[in-house]
Protein backbone atom coordinates (compact mmCIF):
# COMPACT_ATOMS: atom_id res chain seq x y z
CA UNK A 1 0.00 0.00 0.00
CA UNK A 2 1.20 3.50 -0.78
CA UNK A 3 1.82 5.62 2.30
CA UNK A 4 2.52 9.23 3.21
CA UNK A 5 3.67 10.45 6.61
CA UNK A 6 2.51 14.08 6.83
CA UNK A 7 2.64 14.67 10.58
CA UNK A 8 6.16 16.07 10.96
CA UNK A 9 4.96 18.61 13.54
CA UNK A 10 4.34 15.68 15.91
CA UNK A 11 7.59 13.85 15.25
CA UNK A 12 10.20 13.57 12.54
CA UNK A 13 12.13 10.43 11.62
CA UNK A 14 15.63 10.52 13.12
CA UNK A 15 18.12 10.85 10.27
CA UNK A 16 20.69 8.11 9.71
CA UNK A 17 23.52 10.64 10.00
CA UNK A 18 22.11 11.63 13.39
CA UNK A 19 21.90 8.03 14.61
CA UNK A 20 25.46 7.33 13.41
CA UNK A 21 26.75 10.41 15.24
CA UNK A 22 25.00 9.31 18.45
CA UNK A 23 25.99 5.63 18.55
CA UNK A 24 29.58 6.00 19.88
CA UNK A 25 28.21 7.94 22.87
CA UNK A 26 26.13 4.91 23.91
CA UNK A 27 29.15 2.62 23.50
CA UNK A 28 32.85 3.43 23.83
CA UNK A 29 32.37 7.16 24.49
CA UNK A 30 29.88 6.63 27.32
CA UNK A 31 31.75 8.65 29.98
CA UNK A 32 30.29 11.43 32.09
CA UNK A 33 31.27 14.84 30.62
CA UNK A 34 31.83 16.24 34.13
CA UNK A 35 34.72 13.82 34.70
CA UNK A 36 38.20 15.28 34.36
CA UNK A 37 39.91 12.22 32.83
CA UNK A 38 40.39 11.95 29.08
CA UNK A 39 37.25 10.00 28.13
CA UNK A 40 35.14 12.41 30.22
CA UNK A 41 36.76 15.35 28.45
CA UNK A 42 36.00 13.68 25.12
CA UNK A 43 32.30 13.54 26.01
CA UNK A 44 32.44 17.17 27.14
CA UNK A 45 34.00 18.21 23.83
CA UNK A 46 31.14 16.47 21.99
CA UNK A 47 28.59 18.38 24.09
CA UNK A 48 30.43 21.65 23.43
CA UNK A 49 30.56 20.91 19.69
CA UNK A 50 26.81 20.28 19.66
CA UNK A 51 26.24 23.49 21.57
CA UNK A 52 28.12 25.33 18.83
CA UNK A 53 26.05 23.61 16.12
CA UNK A 54 22.73 24.47 17.78
CA UNK A 55 23.92 28.03 18.36
CA UNK A 56 25.01 28.22 14.71
CA UNK A 57 21.57 27.17 13.47
CA UNK A 58 19.88 30.13 15.17
CA UNK A 59 22.64 32.77 15.04
CA UNK A 60 23.47 32.59 18.76
CA UNK A 61 26.71 32.28 20.71
CA UNK A 62 27.66 28.89 22.17
CA UNK A 63 27.32 30.08 25.76
CA UNK A 64 23.75 31.19 25.10
CA UNK A 65 22.42 27.63 24.70
CA UNK A 66 21.07 25.41 27.51
CA UNK A 67 20.27 21.82 26.56
CA UNK A 68 16.92 20.54 27.85
CA UNK A 69 14.90 17.33 27.60
CA UNK A 70 12.28 18.82 25.25
CA UNK A 71 10.75 21.96 23.81
CA UNK A 72 8.24 21.83 26.67
CA UNK A 73 11.05 21.93 29.24
CA UNK A 74 12.67 24.83 27.38
CA UNK A 75 9.35 26.71 27.53
CA UNK A 76 8.93 25.92 31.24
CA UNK A 77 12.47 27.08 31.98
CA UNK A 78 11.97 30.29 30.04
CA UNK A 79 8.62 31.21 31.59
CA UNK A 80 9.16 30.10 35.19
CA UNK A 81 12.89 30.83 35.17
CA UNK A 82 12.41 34.45 34.11
CA UNK A 83 9.36 34.98 36.33
CA UNK A 84 11.14 33.70 39.45
CA UNK A 85 14.36 35.60 38.69
CA UNK A 86 12.57 38.90 38.05
CA UNK A 87 9.67 38.77 40.51
CA UNK A 88 11.04 41.64 42.58
CA UNK A 89 10.71 43.88 39.52
CA UNK A 90 7.08 42.89 38.90
CA UNK A 91 4.71 39.96 38.55
CA UNK A 92 2.88 40.59 35.28
CA UNK A 93 3.32 38.27 32.29
CA UNK A 94 1.84 38.59 28.79
CA UNK A 95 1.28 35.63 26.45
CA UNK A 96 -0.89 35.06 23.41
CA UNK A 97 -4.03 32.97 23.71
CA UNK A 98 -2.75 30.44 21.13
CA UNK A 99 0.49 29.42 22.87
CA UNK A 100 1.45 25.78 23.34
CA UNK A 101 0.24 24.13 26.55
CA UNK A 102 3.77 24.17 27.97
CA UNK A 103 3.65 27.98 27.90
CA UNK A 104 -0.01 28.41 28.90
CA UNK A 105 0.17 25.90 31.76
CA UNK A 106 3.44 27.37 33.04
CA UNK A 107 1.72 30.75 33.19
CA UNK A 108 -1.32 29.24 34.93
CA UNK A 109 1.02 27.66 37.49
CA UNK A 110 2.59 31.07 38.11
CA UNK A 111 -0.87 32.59 38.59
CA UNK A 112 -1.20 30.28 41.59
CA UNK A 113 1.96 31.92 42.95
CA UNK A 114 0.35 35.39 42.70
CA UNK A 115 1.68 36.30 39.28
CA UNK A 116 -0.79 38.02 36.99
CA UNK A 117 -1.22 37.08 33.34
CA UNK A 118 -2.69 38.76 30.30
CA UNK A 119 -3.72 36.47 27.43
CA UNK A 120 -3.60 38.45 24.20
CA UNK A 121 -6.30 37.72 21.62
CA UNK A 122 -5.47 36.96 17.98
CA UNK A 123 -7.24 37.79 14.71
CA UNK A 124 -8.92 35.19 12.51
CA UNK A 125 -5.54 34.23 11.02
CA UNK A 126 -4.01 33.71 14.46
CA UNK A 127 -1.92 36.87 14.29
CA UNK A 128 -1.13 38.83 17.46
CA UNK A 129 -1.25 42.58 16.91
CA UNK A 130 1.91 44.42 18.05
CA UNK A 131 -0.29 47.44 18.86
CA UNK A 132 -2.41 45.38 21.25
CA UNK A 133 0.77 44.08 22.90
CA UNK A 134 2.07 47.63 23.40
CA UNK A 135 -1.21 48.56 25.09
CA UNK A 136 -1.11 45.81 27.73
CA UNK A 137 2.51 46.27 28.83
CA UNK A 138 2.71 48.10 32.15
CA UNK A 139 5.51 49.01 34.60
CA UNK A 140 5.24 45.67 36.45
CA UNK A 141 5.36 43.57 33.24
CA UNK A 142 8.46 41.36 33.37
CA UNK A 143 7.96 38.91 30.53
CA UNK A 144 6.19 38.56 27.17
CA UNK A 145 6.03 35.20 25.41
CA UNK A 146 4.64 34.91 21.89
CA UNK A 147 5.25 31.83 19.75
CA UNK A 148 7.19 32.24 16.50
CA UNK A 149 4.90 29.94 14.52
CA UNK A 150 1.77 28.13 15.59
CA UNK A 151 1.99 24.35 15.32
CA UNK A 152 -1.72 23.95 14.65
CA UNK A 153 -2.48 26.66 12.09
CA UNK A 154 1.04 27.42 10.84
CA UNK A 155 0.79 31.19 11.20
CA UNK A 156 4.10 33.03 11.67
CA UNK A 157 3.87 35.92 14.13
CA UNK A 158 5.51 39.37 13.70
CA UNK A 159 8.10 38.53 16.37
CA UNK A 160 10.76 41.18 15.63
CA UNK A 161 8.17 43.97 15.81
CA UNK A 162 6.88 42.74 19.16
CA UNK A 163 10.37 42.09 20.52
CA UNK A 164 11.32 45.68 19.64
CA UNK A 165 8.36 46.97 21.66
CA UNK A 166 9.51 44.90 24.63
CA UNK A 167 13.13 45.98 24.31
CA UNK A 168 12.00 49.60 24.35
CA UNK A 169 10.06 48.97 27.57
CA UNK A 170 12.81 46.80 29.15
CA UNK A 171 10.61 43.71 29.21
CA UNK A 172 12.12 40.28 28.52
CA UNK A 173 10.79 38.65 25.32
CA UNK A 174 10.59 34.88 24.81
CA UNK A 175 9.46 33.03 21.72
CA UNK A 176 8.54 29.37 21.39
CA UNK A 177 10.15 28.41 18.07
CA UNK A 178 9.56 24.65 18.36
CA UNK A 179 7.40 24.64 15.21
CA UNK A 180 9.68 26.88 13.16
CA UNK A 181 13.33 25.95 13.85
CA UNK A 182 14.44 23.68 11.01
CA UNK A 183 11.41 24.61 8.91
CA UNK A 184 12.10 28.26 8.18
CA UNK A 185 15.00 30.60 8.90
CA UNK A 186 15.25 31.47 12.57
CA UNK A 187 17.90 33.95 13.71
CA UNK A 188 17.81 35.29 17.26
CA UNK A 189 19.54 38.50 16.15
CA UNK A 190 16.98 39.25 13.44
CA UNK A 191 14.08 38.24 15.67
CA UNK A 192 15.61 40.39 18.43
CA UNK A 193 14.47 37.98 21.17
CA UNK A 194 15.92 37.38 24.65
CA UNK A 195 14.93 33.71 24.84
CA UNK A 196 13.91 31.09 22.28
CA UNK A 197 12.83 27.46 22.72
CA UNK A 198 13.49 24.70 20.21
CA UNK A 199 12.87 20.97 20.12
CA UNK A 200 14.88 18.06 18.71
CA UNK A 201 11.99 15.97 17.35
CA UNK A 202 10.99 18.91 15.12
CA UNK A 203 14.27 18.68 13.22
CA UNK A 204 15.02 14.97 12.83
CA UNK A 205 16.80 14.66 16.20
CA UNK A 206 15.64 12.11 18.79
CA UNK A 207 12.80 12.66 21.22
CA UNK A 208 14.01 13.73 24.66
CA UNK A 209 16.09 16.59 23.27
CA UNK A 210 15.59 20.33 23.15
CA UNK A 211 17.32 23.59 23.92
CA UNK A 212 16.71 27.06 25.24
CA UNK A 213 18.54 30.08 23.83
CA UNK A 214 18.97 32.83 26.42
CA UNK A 215 20.66 36.12 25.60
CA UNK A 216 23.84 36.84 27.54
CA UNK A 217 23.20 38.62 30.85
CA UNK A 218 19.60 37.37 31.11
CA UNK A 219 19.10 35.93 34.60
CA UNK A 220 17.22 32.66 34.71
CA UNK A 221 16.21 30.75 37.84
CA UNK A 222 17.02 27.03 37.37
CA UNK A 223 14.12 24.58 37.60
CA UNK A 224 16.29 21.52 38.24
CA UNK A 225 18.71 22.05 41.11
CA UNK A 226 21.82 20.01 41.63
CA UNK A 227 25.26 20.17 40.08
CA UNK A 228 27.11 22.47 37.73
CA UNK A 229 25.88 21.07 34.42
CA UNK A 230 24.84 23.66 31.84
CA UNK A 231 26.93 26.27 33.73
CA UNK A 232 24.82 25.87 36.86
CA UNK A 233 21.55 26.57 35.06
CA UNK A 234 20.18 23.02 34.69
CA UNK A 235 21.40 20.16 36.84
CA UNK A 236 21.56 16.52 35.84
CA UNK A 237 24.12 14.48 33.91
CA UNK A 238 23.92 15.50 30.29
CA UNK A 239 22.07 13.28 27.79
CA UNK A 240 25.26 13.08 25.72
CA UNK A 241 23.96 10.86 22.88
CA UNK A 242 20.80 12.97 22.58
CA UNK A 243 22.76 16.22 22.64
CA UNK A 244 25.15 14.90 19.99
CA UNK A 245 22.12 13.91 17.89
CA UNK A 246 20.58 17.34 18.29
CA UNK A 247 23.86 18.97 17.28
CA UNK A 248 24.15 16.82 14.14
CA UNK A 249 20.50 17.51 13.25
CA UNK A 250 21.12 21.25 13.70
CA UNK A 251 24.13 21.09 11.34
CA UNK A 252 22.07 19.26 8.70
CA UNK A 253 19.13 21.63 9.11
CA UNK A 254 21.35 24.67 8.62
CA UNK A 255 22.92 23.24 5.46
CA UNK A 256 19.70 21.93 3.94
CA UNK A 257 17.20 24.66 4.82
CA UNK A 258 17.82 26.82 1.72
CA UNK A 259 16.75 23.89 -0.49
CA UNK A 260 14.18 22.42 1.84
CA UNK A 261 12.06 25.53 2.26
CA UNK A 262 11.10 26.06 -1.44
CA UNK A 263 10.71 22.29 -1.93
CA UNK A 264 8.19 21.77 0.87
CA UNK A 265 6.43 25.03 0.04
CA UNK A 266 5.79 23.77 -3.48
CA UNK A 267 4.34 20.49 -2.20
CA UNK A 268 2.24 22.35 0.38
CA UNK A 269 0.92 24.84 -2.18
CA UNK A 270 -0.15 22.02 -4.47
CA UNK A 271 -1.92 20.27 -1.58
CA UNK A 272 -3.74 23.45 -0.54
CA UNK A 273 -4.70 24.47 -4.09
CA UNK A 274 -6.15 21.11 -5.02
CA UNK A 275 -7.94 20.51 -1.69
CA UNK A 276 -9.63 23.92 -1.89
CA UNK A 277 -10.54 23.32 -5.54
CA UNK A 278 -11.71 19.69 -5.31
CA UNK A 279 -13.51 19.67 -1.98
CA UNK A 280 -16.40 21.97 -1.17
CA UNK A 281 -16.90 23.68 2.17
CA UNK A 282 -13.38 23.45 3.48
CA UNK A 283 -11.59 26.28 5.31
CA UNK A 284 -7.83 26.79 5.26
CA UNK A 285 -7.01 27.83 8.84
CA UNK A 286 -4.19 30.24 9.66
CA UNK A 287 -2.72 32.86 7.36
CA UNK A 288 -2.45 31.96 3.66
CA UNK A 289 0.98 33.61 3.19
CA UNK A 290 2.47 34.26 6.64
CA UNK A 291 2.73 30.58 7.48
CA UNK A 292 5.29 27.79 7.78
CA UNK A 293 6.31 26.52 4.32
CA UNK A 294 5.38 22.86 4.90
CA UNK A 295 2.21 23.50 6.87
CA UNK A 296 -1.39 23.10 5.68
CA UNK A 297 -4.36 23.05 8.05
CA UNK A 298 -8.00 22.70 7.13
CA UNK A 299 -11.40 22.43 8.72
CA UNK A 300 -13.71 20.16 6.73
CA UNK A 301 -17.32 21.01 7.30
CA UNK A 302 -19.69 18.27 8.48
CA UNK A 303 -17.11 15.72 9.63
CA UNK A 304 -15.07 14.92 12.69
CA UNK A 305 -11.30 15.29 12.42
CA UNK A 306 -10.74 12.08 14.39
CA UNK A 307 -12.77 10.02 11.90
CA UNK A 308 -10.94 11.62 9.01
CA UNK A 309 -7.55 10.89 10.62
CA UNK A 310 -8.57 7.28 11.18
CA UNK A 311 -9.74 6.72 7.61
CA UNK A 312 -6.71 8.46 6.14
CA UNK A 313 -4.49 6.22 8.28
CA UNK A 314 -6.28 3.16 6.86
CA UNK A 315 -5.05 4.40 3.49
CA UNK A 316 -1.49 4.88 4.75
CA UNK A 317 -1.82 8.65 5.17
CA UNK A 318 -0.71 9.97 8.56
CA UNK A 319 -1.85 13.45 9.59
CA UNK A 320 -3.13 15.06 12.79
CA UNK A 321 -6.15 16.90 14.11
CA UNK A 322 -4.24 19.63 15.90
CA UNK A 323 -1.38 19.68 18.33
CA UNK A 324 -0.24 16.12 19.04
CA UNK A 325 -0.62 16.54 22.81
CA UNK A 326 -4.06 18.20 22.65
CA UNK A 327 -5.73 15.93 20.13
CA UNK A 328 -6.29 13.10 22.62
CA UNK A 329 -8.17 15.38 25.01
CA UNK A 330 -11.19 15.32 22.66
CA UNK A 331 -12.09 18.94 23.27
CA UNK A 332 -12.32 21.84 20.88
CA UNK A 333 -8.90 23.17 20.09
CA UNK A 334 -8.24 26.39 22.07
CA UNK A 335 -6.31 27.70 19.04
CA UNK A 336 -9.29 27.27 16.72
CA UNK A 337 -11.58 28.75 19.38
CA UNK A 338 -9.24 31.74 19.67
CA UNK A 339 -9.32 32.41 15.92
CA UNK A 340 -13.12 32.25 16.03
CA UNK A 341 -13.76 28.97 14.18
CA UNK A 342 -17.23 27.61 14.87
CA UNK A 343 -17.15 24.78 17.44
CA UNK A 344 -18.67 22.14 15.14
CA UNK A 345 -16.39 23.10 12.25
CA UNK A 346 -13.36 22.95 14.57
CA UNK A 347 -14.15 19.24 15.05
CA UNK A 348 -13.14 18.73 11.42
CA UNK A 349 -9.67 20.19 11.90
CA UNK A 350 -6.87 18.38 10.08
CA UNK A 351 -3.20 19.36 10.01
CA UNK A 352 -0.71 18.29 7.31
CA UNK A 353 2.96 18.98 8.03
CA UNK A 354 5.27 18.25 5.12
CA UNK A 355 9.04 17.76 5.30
CA UNK A 356 11.84 17.16 2.82
CA UNK A 357 11.34 13.37 2.96
CA UNK A 358 7.89 13.74 1.35
CA UNK A 359 7.43 13.48 -2.40
CA UNK A 360 5.06 14.74 -5.09
CA UNK A 361 3.77 11.17 -5.43
CA UNK A 362 2.81 11.13 -1.75
CA UNK A 363 0.90 14.40 -2.12
CA UNK A 364 -0.83 12.93 -5.20
CA UNK A 365 -1.79 9.90 -3.10
CA UNK A 366 -3.38 12.22 -0.52
CA UNK A 367 -5.17 14.18 -3.24
CA UNK A 368 -6.54 10.97 -4.69
CA UNK A 369 -7.84 9.56 -1.38
CA UNK A 370 -8.86 12.65 0.61
CA UNK A 371 -11.87 13.82 -1.51
CA UNK A 372 -13.39 10.32 -1.50
CA UNK A 373 -12.96 9.91 2.26
CA UNK A 374 -14.41 13.36 2.98
CA UNK A 375 -17.38 12.59 0.72
CA UNK A 376 -17.97 9.25 2.46
CA UNK A 377 -17.82 10.73 5.95
CA UNK A 378 -20.15 13.55 4.97
CA UNK A 379 -22.66 11.08 3.56
CA UNK A 380 -23.12 9.60 7.06
CA UNK A 381 -22.81 12.90 8.97
CA UNK A 382 -25.89 14.22 10.82
CA UNK A 383 -24.65 17.83 10.57
CA UNK A 384 -23.51 17.95 6.94
CA UNK A 385 -25.43 20.28 4.66
CA UNK A 386 -26.41 23.00 7.12
CA UNK A 387 -25.60 26.53 5.93
CA UNK A 388 -23.60 28.21 8.72
CA UNK A 389 -20.64 30.63 8.37
CA UNK A 390 -17.19 29.17 9.23
CA UNK A 391 -16.26 31.82 11.80
CA UNK A 392 -18.27 32.75 14.90
CA UNK A 393 -19.57 36.29 14.58
CA UNK A 394 -17.77 38.90 16.69
CA UNK A 395 -15.09 36.56 18.07
CA UNK A 396 -12.22 37.81 15.87
CA UNK A 397 -11.68 40.74 13.57
Amino acid sequence: MKSAYLDHASATPVRNEVIEAMLPYFRERFANPSNVYDIGSEAKRAVDQSRASVAGLIGAEDKEIIFTSSGAEANNLAIKGIALARQKKGKHIVVSSIEHHSVLNSVRFLERLDFEATFLPVDKYGLVSPESLAKVIRPETILVSIMHANNEIGTIEPISEMAAICKDKEVIFHTDAVASVGNTRVDVGILNVDLLSLSGPSLCAPKGTGALYFRKNVRLMPLIHGGIQESGRRAGTENVPGIVGLGKAAELAKTELPEKEPYVRKLRDRLVDVVLKKIEKVTLTGHSAKRLPGHASFCFEGIEGESLIFMLAQNGIYVNTGSACASKALKTSPVLTAIGIRADLAQGSTVFTIDSDNTKEEIDHVLEKLPTIVHRLRSISPIWGKEIPAYEEGVCS
Binding site: N217, L220, M221, P222, G227, I228, G232, R233
Partner: protein, 82 residues
Protein backbone atom coordinates in the same frame (compact mmCIF):
# COMPACT_ATOMS: atom_id res chain seq x y z
CA UNK B 1 32.53 39.70 57.31
CA UNK B 2 33.88 42.96 56.02
CA UNK B 3 31.10 45.24 54.71
CA UNK B 4 32.10 47.99 52.30
CA UNK B 5 30.34 50.59 50.15
CA UNK B 6 31.03 52.19 46.78
CA UNK B 7 33.89 49.84 45.82
CA UNK B 8 34.92 50.28 42.15
CA UNK B 9 35.62 47.15 40.08
CA UNK B 10 37.46 46.46 36.82
CA UNK B 11 35.12 43.62 35.84
CA UNK B 12 31.83 42.10 37.01
CA UNK B 13 30.84 38.45 37.09
CA UNK B 14 27.07 37.96 37.34
CA UNK B 15 26.28 34.62 39.01
CA UNK B 16 22.80 35.50 40.25
CA UNK B 17 20.44 32.48 39.90
CA UNK B 18 23.39 30.17 39.15
CA UNK B 19 23.79 27.04 41.24
CA UNK B 20 26.49 26.26 43.81
CA UNK B 21 29.44 25.81 43.27
CA UNK B 22 29.56 28.14 40.24
CA UNK B 23 30.57 30.94 42.66
CA UNK B 24 33.79 28.99 43.31
CA UNK B 25 34.47 27.97 39.70
CA UNK B 26 33.87 31.03 37.58
CA UNK B 27 35.78 33.69 39.61
CA UNK B 28 39.01 31.73 39.12
CA UNK B 29 38.51 31.61 35.33
CA UNK B 30 37.65 35.30 35.17
CA UNK B 31 40.60 36.36 37.35
CA UNK B 32 42.94 34.52 34.97
CA UNK B 33 41.94 37.05 32.29
CA UNK B 34 42.63 40.04 34.58
CA UNK B 35 45.92 41.65 35.59
CA UNK B 36 47.48 41.74 39.05
CA UNK B 37 45.95 44.47 41.22
CA UNK B 38 42.63 44.61 39.35
CA UNK B 39 39.35 44.14 41.23
CA UNK B 40 36.63 41.63 40.31
CA UNK B 41 33.06 42.17 41.44
CA UNK B 42 31.08 38.91 41.90
CA UNK B 43 27.27 39.10 42.08
CA UNK B 44 25.49 36.12 43.62
CA UNK B 45 22.28 35.37 45.50
CA UNK B 46 23.71 32.20 47.08
CA UNK B 47 23.93 32.53 50.88
CA UNK B 48 26.72 29.97 51.11
CA UNK B 49 28.98 32.41 49.26
CA UNK B 50 29.22 34.51 52.46
CA UNK B 51 31.62 31.92 53.88
CA UNK B 52 32.85 30.33 50.68
CA UNK B 53 34.22 33.35 48.81
CA UNK B 54 36.45 34.75 51.61
CA UNK B 55 37.76 31.19 52.24
CA UNK B 56 38.36 30.63 48.53
CA UNK B 57 40.29 33.93 48.31
CA UNK B 58 42.62 32.97 51.16
CA UNK B 59 43.20 29.49 49.67
CA UNK B 60 43.93 30.88 46.21
CA UNK B 61 46.04 33.80 47.40
CA UNK B 62 43.75 36.63 46.27
CA UNK B 63 42.65 39.49 48.51
CA UNK B 64 39.04 39.52 49.68
CA UNK B 65 38.28 43.24 49.85
CA UNK B 66 34.76 42.94 51.28
CA UNK B 67 31.12 42.72 50.35
CA UNK B 68 28.05 44.85 49.87
CA UNK B 69 24.47 43.67 50.17
CA UNK B 70 21.95 44.65 47.51
CA UNK B 71 18.21 44.13 47.60
CA UNK B 72 18.43 41.02 45.42
CA UNK B 73 21.99 39.75 45.74
CA UNK B 74 25.41 40.07 47.34
CA UNK B 75 28.37 41.86 45.74
CA UNK B 76 31.78 40.45 46.60
CA UNK B 77 35.02 42.26 45.73
CA UNK B 78 38.23 40.34 45.07
CA UNK B 79 41.63 41.87 44.25
CA UNK B 80 43.88 39.74 42.06
CA UNK B 81 47.17 39.29 43.90
CA UNK B 82 49.10 36.91 41.65
Amino acid sequence: MKFIEGQKADDTLDLVCRMCPMHLLEPGDRLKCMTKGQVLEVLTDYDGALDDIPDWCSKCGHEFIGMEEDDEYYKFYIKKKK
